[in-house]
């Protein structure tokens, strides 16, 4: 029973804070709510017998990614920017369609989702995961490194100021007429 109460409690937290992200107009509040929601999800992972993932969730998501978000928000000084409400059609369609989508999804999941649970414990500790990761998933794992490398390089490249390293001063004057229309 306790399990169920925990589930419902944290499910409620997850949903409420998720809703706050969507509804609250201050991005800082949104980011913090998202962190809360992610915490609740971490609890869900524990309930689902995946403690390692729960830890990862807290560290990677709540800890790293969301901090990055907050950092950017602060950096750009966005915390005071409340967005005005415009585009009523977009808003209306957004709410209604997503509601319809959600209802349909919930309906079908409830109707056709699996109910029978297998017996026995679900071994999903860090060790098991690690072994699998470095045995069977070695190739995707290595590829993730490229992915992250690309992301880092890209982030540097994109967020760097113009005229920073790599760009010659030539670039300040637009368009050297190297290729021009012939007379």
């Amino acid at each position: 029973m306790i399990e169920f109460s925990i589930f419902f409690f944290f499910a409620a937290i997850a949903v409420i804070f998720a809703a706050t992200v969507v509804l609250h107009r201050n991005p800082v509040v949104g980011a913090l709510s998202l962190v809360a929601s992610f915490f609740a999800l971490a609890v869900m992972y524990v309930l689902l017998e995946a403690p390692f993932l729960a830890v990862l969730q807290v560290i990677v998501y709540a800890g790293a990614i969301m901090v990055l978000f907050l950092f950017v928000i602060m950096l750009l000084n966005l915390q005071h920017q409340a967005e005005p409400r415009t585009r009523p059609v977009q808003q209306f369609l957004g709410y209604t369609t997503s509601a319809a989508f959600g209802l349909a999804l919930v309906y079908y999941l409830a109707k056709f989702g699996v109910t029978q649970l297998p017996d026995g414990p679900f071994v999903s500790d860090a060790r098991t995961i690690g072994i699998r990761m470095f045995e069977a998933y070695i190739f995707p794992f290595e590829m993730v490194s490229i992915l992250l490398l690309a992301a880092i390089v890209g982030a540097l490249l994109l967020s760097g100021r113009t005229g920073a390293s790599g760009e010659t001063t030539k670039s300040e004057s637009p368009a050297p007429p190297q290729i021009e229309v012939a007379p």
Binding site: M143, P174, A182
Partner: protein, 502 residues
Amino acid sequence: MNLTPLLENGWMNAILPELILSIGGMVLILFDAFAPKLRGATASLAVIVFVAAGWGERMVIGGNWFGGTYQVSGITILFDYTFLLAAILASLFARAYLAREGFERGEFYAMLMWGTVGMMMMAKGLDLLIVILGLELLSICIFILVGFHRRIAVSNEASLKYFLMGAFATGFILYGTALFYGATGSTNFAAFSKYFATADASNPLLTIAFVLMMSGLGFKLAVAPFHGWAPDVYQGAPSPVAGWLSVAPKAATLIALIRIFSSMTPVIQQASWMKMVAALSILSMIIGNAVAIAQRDLKRMLAYSGIAHVGYMLIALLSLRDESVAAISIYVITYALMNIGAFGVVSMLAKNQNDPQTLDDIAGLGFRRPFYGLALTICMFSLSGLPPTAGFIAKFYIFKTAVDSGHMTVAIIGILTSIVSVYYYLRVVYFLYMKEGEAAQTEGHGHDAVHPSASAFRAPLLDADIFGTGALVISLAGIFAIGLFPTPLFNAAGAAARALLP
């Protein structure tokens, strides 16, 4: 602790091209960082890496690798060549572009390489995990490449749009994958095949999963109605990138789709999921071609035409046969040649990125810049599917497949929309040759005959960067080679396709 990684013998040979490209990208970045003086050589270096990767394709060993999650076969090699071709063309065109914009950086080519690796993973992955990883790797590289021209707002805006839509679509793909996982207990295509052989076609959850995944991949393909980003992104992206972007990711997504679809037979037909594909195809052909008429910006026009072209490719996908796979591979290769070629010309004709590349800007260029004019003309004719260009062969193959498998309605819509498409492709030719440009009028064009020396000194082939011209020559040669002698390619594609499908 005794880790035994799942690495079969010769695994390095299996992924040799990927390895070359991954390492090549890193080398280029390092080269860029440590030898900034030699930046002019990065393009050459990049092309060498790509060629090396292509050479590496020759040594790959076919078969399933990494525990049956990675397939190397004829079709993947064919597609790898396509990706490499696209990348080489893009690199060649990019050199002059980057030099002009003052952006000659190794990262650009590194991103092209890693993006190519991502596409190769999409093409070869036998597990949705690999496919999605490849897709993400590709996406990240595209985000960066599209926004590469940071100084100007449109490039950044394009990057933003692509990023938001891409991430959004990724969410859908992932959710679809999750639902399939829930149904099959695996994300492996082999497991899919086993499951779908007996699956209940009427399960709506499966349908939802399919729709979600298809829409996410549809985003990558830029099919209507998931095409919203495409025109803006193509317009805003650096022209060489746009050309590459309009071809390579689509090719990768298509091969992934073929794998997914073939793993889902026979449910995919029973559950009439193909109706969705047909609808996407029809919508794309109509919207792409109709809206392209209204465009005056060349890159936007090509973007819409790209939407339409994916519609044509999806026609072939409607029937899952080796013929259709071969048709798609031919189309993709052809499309790479002609579309990147077209974007390349646009890129080479631009004065700078801020200029909108409208039709008026190319008015009268055909006679002033004969080679570019001819190249663009041939690309346009090929895009509109007129013989004796490759575009004709490709389109013919598509329609042949459609007729053969009884998809007459879609084929007829395809033909009718092709007629529409001819109009806007021809309009480009019209502007090239039949309209006097403003520049020409002010410069007193038409005095060529009076002052022969002015043009006589200018050998038409040498008045621009040798890289871009070389790329155009490759494009044109390819277009005509496929258009006139498609047999070797057919042999290759046919054999590859037969190997792919059971």
